[in-house]
């Protein structure tokens, strides 16, 4: 179903529209939320469900502000999901119940491969980076998006794409090296 049809359905029959919206994007949104929560121990399945319902509610509430020319419903929902999870994580951190599962070594290994000076990474550069990711070709593009945007585990990516876990790791490493080369000294 196309976005404009879905929006019309949401306006005309909110219950049917919401059901169709959730039917279509619930898997993706829950994966995004689960990925964002994955480095922390304190988030349960109920937290993911609560956050996912918040995302759909937020979209329903701000539906009139949605601009199709700026992106699809899919990416709009994902952006809401990212912001919502960051809010929840901050809230938990404030409540002192947040414990990261990421060992420094593991997290910094990726950071060491691919870090940027926040001050230097302007919007244009970020766009250039995403353009390079899109130009990687398949399956490297999908691996990078699944690993770094959806935070899916290597094994899950490997199973989905019909590759071995080792192959996914090698492709990730090569793709990052290629991106670093393309973007130049900025990363």
């Amino acid at each position: 179903m196309k976005d404009d049809v879905l929006l019309k359905l949401l306006r005309k029959h909110p219950d049917k529209g919401l059901s169709a919206l959730m039917e279509r994007y619930m898997g993706l949104i829950c994966t995004v939320i689960k990925g964002c929560f994955s480095p922390y121990t304190c988030f349960s399945a109920e937290d993911i469900e609560e956050c996912a319902s918040d995302v759909f509610y937020e979209f329903y509430k701000s539906m009139e502000n949605f601009r199709p020319e700026q992106g699809s419903i899919k990416s709009y929902l994902c952006a809401i999901a990212k912001h919502k999870t960051i809010d929840v994580i901050r809230k938990r951190a404030f409540e002192n119940t947040l414990i990261s599962l990421d060992s420094d070594e593991e997290f910094l290994q990726i950071a060491g491969d691919f870090t940027v000076e926040a001050e230097l990474l302007l919007a244009e550069e970020r766009k250039a980076l995403f353009a390079e990711i899109n130009a990687l070709g398949e399956p490297d593009r999908e691996i990078i998006v699944r690993k770094f945007y959806l935070r899916e585990p290597t094994q899950a990516i490997a199973e989905r794409l019909g590759l071995s876990a080792g192959n996914v790791d090698v492709r990730t490493h090569r793709a990052l090296a290629k991106l670093r080369e393309k973007i130049g000294g900025k990363i």
């Binding site: 919401l18 619930m26 898997g27 469900e49 996912a52 918040d54 509610y57 700026q70 992106g71 870090t115």
Partner: protein, 246 residues
């Protein structure tokens, strides 16, 4: 402060991730309840959910359904001219609906079923039997009602505005028992007029034609959408469409 690719991705705006998310689909993660999320969302949005049925009501409905199916057999035989596998409407009469002449031997209420061909996103077709309850003295169903489940299932904003039967073919004169008798061909073309805002692709249109074909007896089906004759695979045959092979 150093940023990881994770952080950069998190900060991405809607327009920046649009292309990246193309062709990215995900299943529900394990242990997450779709039902809980739906209920919570509808509650937050202030949309009332239909009361859930109790087990007794559910089983009662199931039993009633079975009874209706059993009762539908004689109806089906009647509709299908004693052909138990054919339960299609012979398209007789009515400005607003399709009327049926039901023999008194049929037990009411009863139901008839038709095979709906629902298009799936991967290009395949989901064939599903849909039941319609028939009550004595109210033997009328409009094409709008009959095709509403199709468009509802596909979440398409399309409705049936009107329909008409027409005849193609010429009158023929044949000799019967030494006398010339004029044979007039029956209605064999159904034209359905649709209105809506949705874009209908070829796959959906083929499924729609097959669904109409499973309901109606007519040989040819013509579709008119928002006043324009509908073409499928770039073709719009003058006599109309016939069943498409799935």
């Amino acid at each position: 402060m150093k940023k990881t690719l994770y952080d950069i991705m998190n900060e991405a705006k809607t327009d920046e991730i649009d292309t990246m998310l193309e062709n990215i689909e995900c299943e529900m993660p394990d242990g997450i309840s779709t039902k809980n999320i739906k209920e919570k969302t509808l509650k937050k949005c202030g949309i009332k959910k239909k009361k859930s049925r109790t087990l007794i009501v559910r089983y009662g409905a199931l039993a009633a359904c079975l009874a209706l199916i059993v009762a539908a057999v004689p109806t089906a035989m009647h509709f299908g001219h004693s052909n138990t596998t054919d339960r299609r409407y012979p398209e007789i009469g009515g400005e607003n609906g399709i009327y049926q002449e039901i023999t008194p031997s049929i037990a009411y209420p009863t139901s008839v079923s038709y095979t709906y061909h629902f298009p799936l996103e991967d290009g395949t077709v989901l064939c599903k039997e849909m039941f319609f309850k028939l009550e004595e003295g109210k033997m009328k169903e409009t094409w709008k009602e009959l095709l509403a489940p199709f468009f509802e299932h596909c979440a398409l904003d399309v409705t049936v505005a009107d329909w008409k039967l027409s005849t193609s073919g010429e009158k023929t004169e044949v000799s019967e028992n030494g006398q010339f008798v004029t044979h007039t061909p029956g209605s064999n073309t159904l034209t359905l007029f649709f209105e809506g805002t949705a874009e209908l692709d070829d796959h959906t249109l083929k499924c729609l034609v097959n669904t109409i074909d499973s309901i109606s007896y007519v040989k040819y089906i013509k579709l008119v959408y928002n006043g324009e004759p509908v073409a499928i695979d770039g073709e719009c045959p003058a006599e109309g469409f016939t069943n498409f092979k799935n």
